[in-house]
Symmetry: C3
Subunit: 469 residues, 3 copies
C-alpha cells in the first residue's frame, strides 16, 4: 500500500517546501475552470457511463497510447479505432498497460493515472504488471455505479466551467440541452473551431463550404457569402455560450489580400483549381477575417499552430487522426501576426491567446508581445508541455517579461475526463512551486504570493476568457 | 514597514545560500563598470535635476511603461512623447503605476524599483495603490535637493566608468566638457552607433550620408568617400574616449562585394534607386567594412541584432520609437558572421561582443564561437533577458562551453539612471547564485569562487572593453 | 592537498543529496558501456604507451585545446598537427595549460581532468600554474610503467564494450586482431561511418567511390554498383562486430529520387559535373539508401547532423580538421526525416538514434518522435552538451515526453582515453541527480529510482545498441 504524498511536486528544500505547501493549500479546493477541452458533448448529454477502465483511461487518451506504441504495442490492441473491442480485449489492453507501466516513470501520464486511481477510485495499491488485473476489476465494478457517471464525475470534480470543441456547422442542440438541465452543475461552453473551413487546398473544402452555407442559411459559394456565413455561425456559437474560437494551422500567417483578389482566389479554390501557393495566401486572408470578425463579436481567439498533424501515414490510414502521431514544428508568431496585431492589437475588445509547443518562442516572442499589447495573452504550456518541468520553464520564461497578469491560466485541453482534476491539481502544485521560489528568495512577500495564486487559479482564467460564473 | 532582505535573490538551500552570501559580499561594494548604456549626455553635462518621480522612474523607461500599456493604460497618460506633461499629470501617472503595481510581481522592473526606493531614497514603505501618492511626494521633495542631481547620483552610485550611445556625426562637445570637469567622478566614454548610416534602403539615407561627410570633412557621396568618412568619424570617437562601436541590424550578414560592385550599389542607393535585395547586399558589405575598420582602429564591436523595431505602427506614429514595442526575432550568428570571423577572428586586436535576445543561440552558437575565437566574447543577457531567471540560464548555457573568461561581464544598457545600481546589484547577486551552485556541488573551491566573482564583476569588463580606470 | 569530494555534482539540498548518493552508489561500479567513440584502433592493437602527459591530455583533445586558443594560445604550441613535437615543447605546452587553468573553471574539461588526475594517477595536488611542472613529471613517470599502457587502462577502467569509428573501406584487420586477443578485455566494435561517400559535391568523391568499389569487389562507378558496394561493406562491418552506422551531414534530408533519376545524377556526379542543388538531392537519396540497407542488415543508424565543420579557414589550412573549430547549426529533424520514418519508422528491426547540439529540438522534435515511433531513440547530449548543466536540461526536456526508456544511455564520443571513466562517472552522477529530483518530489519511489538508474546505465545502452556482453 502506498498513498499519494501530500507534498508531491513541491520543491525539496524544506523552507521553500513549506511556502509551496501554504500557497497550494490556499487554492487547492477552488473550483476547476476549464476554458478549453475535448470531452465529447455526448457524454454530458447522455450522462455517459464508461464501459470499462480501458475505455476510461487508455483508448481515448493518445498521451497514454503513443508511449506503448513507442515500445512496440500495436494501437489496435489498445482499442484505438476498433469498432468492436470486446471486454476481454479491453482487459488484455489494461494488462498490457501494466506491463509497460515502468516505461511511464517520469512522465505526467503516470502522475495523472496514479493521482486519479487514488483520488477518484480510492485505489492505493501501486499499479504495475502484478496489480493491473486486480485494479482493472476494482475500477470496472465502480464504473457500473451511478457515482461514476459522467455528470456525477463533473459534480464531484467541482468543475465550475467546462468547454467542448466543436465544428462550425454543429447545431449545438446537445449543448442547449445540457445547459438547460439543472442537473448539470457546470457552466458549459461550446468552442468555434473553423480550421477545416479555412484550408482551401484540402480536397473536401468545397463541400465544407457548402455545408457551412447551409448551416448559416446563406449561399457561401462566393467569398462574400462565405464571410457572411462565418459571421453568422460565430454569432450562433456566441449566442449558445461560446466564448472563444480555436485555431490550429501550421502557421499563423494572416496577410490580407485585396478584396477582389480574395474573391478571385476563393472562386478558384471553390472550383478546385487553386495552386498550393495561392491557397496559402487565401488561407492567410481567411484567417485574418477571423480576427476581423472576432473584433466585431468579441469571441476570444486561441491559437496553437505549428504541428505536423498525422505525421505517420501508416497510422493515419490504419487508425485515423489524433493517435499521438502529431509532432510539433518550429513556430513563428511575431512576423506572421503583424497584420492582425497592427489592425486590432491595441483594441481591448479583441483578444488573442497564443499557445505553443515550441518553447523557444516564450521569451523571444510571446511574452514580449503580451508584455506590450493589451489584446495578447500567453497561453499555458500546451500538449507535450503539459507537465511539471515544462510548466516551470514556462513560468521562468514568461513571468519576468510580461508578469503573471498576461498569462492565460491553466488549460487542460483533454478528452480524458478522469485526468481533469489531476491535471488542474498538477498545475496548482507547480504554480505554487514557482511562486514559492519568488517568496523564498525574497522577491515577493507571502501575502503577495497568495494573491498571485488566487489570480492564476481563479481570477485570471475567468477574466481572460470572460467566464462569469 | 518592510526592508529589503539582505539575502534576496540567493538560493533557498541554507548551505548554498551561505556560500552565495559570502561570494556576493566579496564584490558588493566594488565600483560599477558600465561599458554600454543610454543615459543622455545632457544630463551629465548640465548636472540635470529630475523634475519629479514620474520623470525619473516611469516616462523614460519603456520597461516600465510597456507593461502598463499591456494592461490598457495609454502611453500618453504616462507622459510618453508628451511635450507638455504637467505636474498634476505626472502625479496621476505615478498613481496609475501604483494601481498597476501588482502586475509587476515577478518582474525585474518591480525588483529594481523597490531596490531603488530603499537604497536611493530610504523609503521602506511598500509601494502600491495606497502608498503611491505619499511616496510620490516624498521622492519629489528629495529630488529637489542637491544630493539628487545627476552627478551627485553618479558619485553616490560609485560608478567607475559609464558610456553613452551616440550618433557618428555628434561633435562630442558635451562629452569633452564632462570629461574635462574634475567634478564628474566617472570615466566617461561615448559609443559609436552607425546603424542608420548602414541601411541604404531607408528614405533618409542619402541625407545621412551627406551629414556624415560634412562632419568628417570629406565628400561621402561615393563609396570611397563614405568609407573614408566612417574611418575618420570612428577615429574621432576613439580620440574622444570611445572604446566601442555598437550595432543593431535585423541580421548580421556581412558578405563582402567586389569593390566596383560596392561602388555601383552605393551610387544606386545614393540616387534613391536601389532595390531592397541590393540594399541588403550593400548593407552587409558596409557592415563588413565596420569590422575592417575595427581591426584598424581597435574599437570593439558590440552586436545585438534581430529585433523587430517599432513593431506597432500605431505606437510608432503616436509616440515614436523606443516605447517598448520592439519584439525580438530569431537570430543567426554563425553562418552570417563567417566572412568577418574568417578575416579577423584570430586577430587579437579585433574584438566582437555578441549579444542576443534569442536564448537558443547561447549554447548552439555564441559560446562555441567564443570558446574558439580569441576575438569573440559572449555578451551579457540583453534587454528582455536582463533578469534573474534569464541570467541563470545564460550562465548555465555558456560557462560549461566557453568558461567565465569569454563572457563580457554585466551591461546595464539603460537610460533609467536610478536603476543602474539596482541592475548591477542584481547581477552581482545572481552571479553569486550561479557560482555558489558550482561551489556547493564541489566543482569549484570557495577560493576559486571568490576569484571568479572578482573576475566577472571587475577584471573581466575592464579587460574585455579595454577600460583602464 | 585536496581530494575529490564524494558528493560532487550532487544537489545541494541534504535530503535530495542523500537520495542522489544512494542512487549513484547503486551504479557507480558497473562496467562502462561505450557504444560510440573515437579512440584509434592502433592504440588498442599495439597496446600504445603515451609518450607524455601532453600527448595524453592536451594535444588530441580539441575540447581542451580550443579554449586555450580562445585565450590566444597558438594551437601549434599545444602540439596540434605538429609532426615533430619535442619533449621540451610537450612540457612547455603542459605549463601553458597550467597558466590557463583558471579559464576552465565551470567547464567539464576541468572536471574530467581533475577527476582523471586523482582517480587514474592518484594525484591530489591542485593543478595550476605552480604545480603544472611537478604534475607533468609525476604523470610522465607513471606513463612509462606497464600499468599505464592503453590496454592496461581499458582493463582498469572496467570497460565492458567500446567502439571505434571507421571508414567503410577499412579492412578491419586491426579490429580482428584485437577481438581475437584474449588479453583485450572489452567487447570491441567498429562503426561504419560513410559520410564522405555520400557527399557527391566533394571534389574527391569519384575517387572515394572507386575505393569503395575496390574494397567491396564490385564496380561502384554506377548507382547500382555503388549501392551494392555499400550493402557489402555494411555486411562486412557487421560480420566484424559493428552494431551501428554513424552519420553526420549538415542536414538529414532523405527524399528519395526515382531510380533512373538517381542513376542519372550519380553519373553526373561521378563525372564531376553535378550542380550543387542536384548533389544535395542525390545525397538525400543516398542517405535514404542507408536507412533502406539498415532495415535489411540491422545496423543501427546514429545521426548527429547540423555542424559547421572546420568553420575557421585559417585553422583548417594550418592544423587540419577536428581542432575545435566546428560550430553547431540550427537543426531540423521532423520534416527532413519523414521519408525514412514513413517507410521504416514502425519496423522494430530498424533503429534510429538521434543526437543533436541544438537543444531546441529535444522537447519539440526528438522526444515526440521517440515517444511515438518504436524505431526512434533520443541520443545523449552531444559534444558541447556533454556536461552537467546540459545533461540535466536534456533529462528535463525529454523524460516527461518519451520516458527514460526511449533515451540512448550515455555516449562518451571521445578519443581522450583517460577521460572515458570520468565522463561516464559524470553521467552517472548527473543521472542520479535528475532521478533524485523525481524521488524527492514524490513522483517516483526510491526503489523505482534504483530501477531507472540500472536501466539508464546498463540495460538501456545494451538493448538500444544490441550489445550482448
Amino acid at each position: 500500500m502506498q498513498t499519494l504524498n501530500p507534498d508531491r511536486l513541491f520543491p525539496a528544500e524544506p523552507t521553500q517546501r513549506r511556502i509551496a505547501r501554504d500557497l497550494y493549500d490556499s487554492v487547492k479546493d477552488m473550483p476547476i475552470i476549464s476554458p478549453h477541452g475535448h470531452v465529447p458533448i455526448e457524454w454530458f448529454a447522455t450522462d455517459y457511463h464508461f464501459r470499462n477502465p480501458t475505455e476510461l483511461f487508455i483508448t481515448p487518451d493518445h498521451y497514454v497510447t503513443r508511449l506503448m506504441h513507442a515500445h512496440g504495442v500495436e494501437l489496435a490492441d489498445l482499442g484505438v479505432n476498433q469498432s468492436d473491442f470486446s471486454e476481454s480485449q479491453a482487459r488484455e489492453a489494461f494488462l498490457t498497460f501494466g506491463r509497460c507501466w515502468r516505461r511511464y516513470a517520469g512522465t505526467p501520464m503516470r502522475y495523472w493515472f496514479e493521482d486519479s486511481l487514488e483520488r477518484v477510485f480510492s485505489i492505493t495499491e501501486p499499479f504495475g504488471p502484478d496489480s493491473a488485473g486486480r485494479i482493472y476489476d476494482q475500477v470496472n465494478e465502480m464504473l457500473a455505479s451511478p457515482e461514476f457517471s459522467t455528470r456525477a464525475l463533473v459534480r464531484r470534480f467541482n468543475i465550475e466551467s467546462i468547454s467542448t470543441t466543436d465544428d462550425p456547422v454543429d447545431d449545438l442542440r446537445l449543448h442547449d440541452q445540457v445547459i438547460a438541465d439543472p442537473d448539470f452543475g457546470a457552466l458549459l461552453a461550446p468552442a468555434f473551431r473553423p480550421d477545416r473551413y479555412l484550408e482551401p487546398a484540402a480536397p473536401e473544402w468545397a463541400s465544407l463550404v457548402d455545408a457551412l452555407g447551409r448551416s448559416a442559411g446563406v449561399d457561401a459559394s462566393g467569398y462574400e457569402g462565405f464571410h457572411e456565413a462565418m459571421r453568422r455561425r460565430r454569432r450562433f456559437f456566441k449566442e449558445h455560450g461560446a466564448v472563444l474560437s480555436d485555431h490550429s494551422h501550421m502557421d499563423v500567417s494572416c496577410e490580407r489580400l485585396a478584396d477582389d483578389e480574395a474573391a478571385r482566389l476563393f472562386a478558384l479554390a471553390y472550383a478546385g483549381s487553386i495552386t498550393a501557393a495561392d491557397a496559402a495566401r487565401l488561407r492567410a486572408h481567411l484567417f485574418n477575417d477571423q480576427a476581423r470578425l472576432a473584433q466585431e463579436d468579441g469571441l476570444i481567439m486561441t491559437l496553437h499552430p505549428a504541428v505536423h498533424r498525422s505525421y505517420d501515414q501508416y497510422g493515419l490510414e490504419t487508425y485515423g487522426r489524433d493517435i499521438g502521431a502529431d509532432i510539433p514544428a518550429r513556430s513563428e508568431f511575431t512576423r506572421a501576426l503583424k497584420p492582425i496585431l497592427n489592425a486590432y492589437g491595441n483594441d481591448s475588445k479583441f483578444r488573442l491567446v497564443l499557445f505553443t509547443m515550441d518553447e523557444t518562442v516564450f521569451s523571444r516572442s510571446l511574452a514580449p508581445l503580451a508584455g506590450y499589447y493589451p489584446s495578447v495573452f500567453v497561453g499555458a504550456p500546451w500538449w507535450f508541455l503539459d507537465q511539471p518541468e515544462a510548466m516551470l520553464r514556462y513560468f521562468e520564461d514568461t513571468v519576468p517579461i510580461c508578469g503573471f497578469g498576461k498569462l492565460s491560466g491553466f488549460i487542460d485541453d483533454t478528452r480524458a475526463l478522469c485526468s481533469i482534476p489531476s491535471r488542474h491539481d498538477t498545475n496548482r502544485r507547480v504554480t505554487a512551486r514557482y511562486v514559492s521560489s519568488l517568496v523564498a528568495d525574497h522577491r515577493l512577500s507571502l501575502d503577495e504570493g497568495y494573491e498571485v495564486m488566487r489570480g492564476m487559479i481563479q481570477t485570471q482564467p475567468r477574466e481572460v476568457f470572460r467566464l462569469n460564473p
